[in-house]
Amino acid sequence: MELETTVRELTPQLLRYALGRTGDPALAEEVAQDALAALVQRWRRYGPPECPAAFVFAVARRRAFRLTFKRRLLFPLHLLLDGESPLPNPEERAVARTDLGRTLAALRRLSGQDREALLLVGVGELGPAEGARVLGISVSALKMRVHRARQRLLKILEERDGTAGLASRDEAAPSSRSHA
């Protein structure tokens, strides 16, 4: 197992997870970078952790929580100091109309626990055992959360699109996924 290979393999998964978690590409990059930097330092100092994926996702999860909490906390101050409007700007409105925007909006409608489980397993591509380890729950509890999240997400997207779900939208907009 080599450090650089592991980092390269984990980065796309981690970025997807962080984007789903924060809803902000810039913040997602910061979260992923911090988590991977922690892995790199750990690796260089003490050798590879038992499960690098679980290690890095656990760090990313904590980091994402802190950053989103901080952003929410400082949001009123930014409004006051920068004079920003609380309404979405044209760029944000454009993003909201994209596939990414719709996906993020749908994810936000899931409960926190279900969303976290789905993001780790479905988006971050962690195995059930690793995901359960990151969340500190049993594998069966994780499976239950993921199943519930999938059902709920499918329902939300069906309601929104008035179609048979995400699968049918694959054909309609296959290449609208750039966000960075």
């Binding site: 980092v7 390269r8 980065t11 719709r102 995400l166």
Partner: protein
């Protein structure tokens, strides 16, 4: 659990997929992250420990015995105060009804 490659899962991953530029940027920065110097990393903890140690020393150190500046001795009803420097004082509670203060103080020089 449903298979991970269910269509909606794939769609979800595609929607959140990062660009190759973003991946490269993150990989490069993560691998280039400097190792924190152990001394700097331990600085806050070391400062706290130092402050606690100083506080503990100040609070818990045994009081050094102070040098006596005078000795006080009672002889019957008379109190003898012998300072290291200066005159010896003799304090005697007066019992005579005529005494205004009820105390007789006799001071004689030499300090011995």
């Amino acid at each position: 659990m449903e298979p991970l490659d269910s269509p909606h899962e794939t769609r979800l991953r595609q929607a959140l997929d990062p660009t190759p530029d973003a991946v490269e940027r993150v990989v490069h920065r993560a691998l280039a992250s400097p190792r924190p110097a152990p001394a700097l990393r331990l600085l806050p903890a070391a400062s706290l420990i130092a402050v606690l140690l100083v506080a503990a020393v100040l609070l818990l150190r045994p009081l050094t015995p102070r040098r006596a500046v005078a000795s006080i001795e009672t002889v019957g009803e008379v109190l003898l105060v012998r300072p290291q420097n200066g005159p010896v004082s003799i304090v005697n509670p007066g019992r005579e009804p005529g005494s205004p203060s009820g105390t007789l103080i006799v001071v004689y020089g030499g300090g011995q």
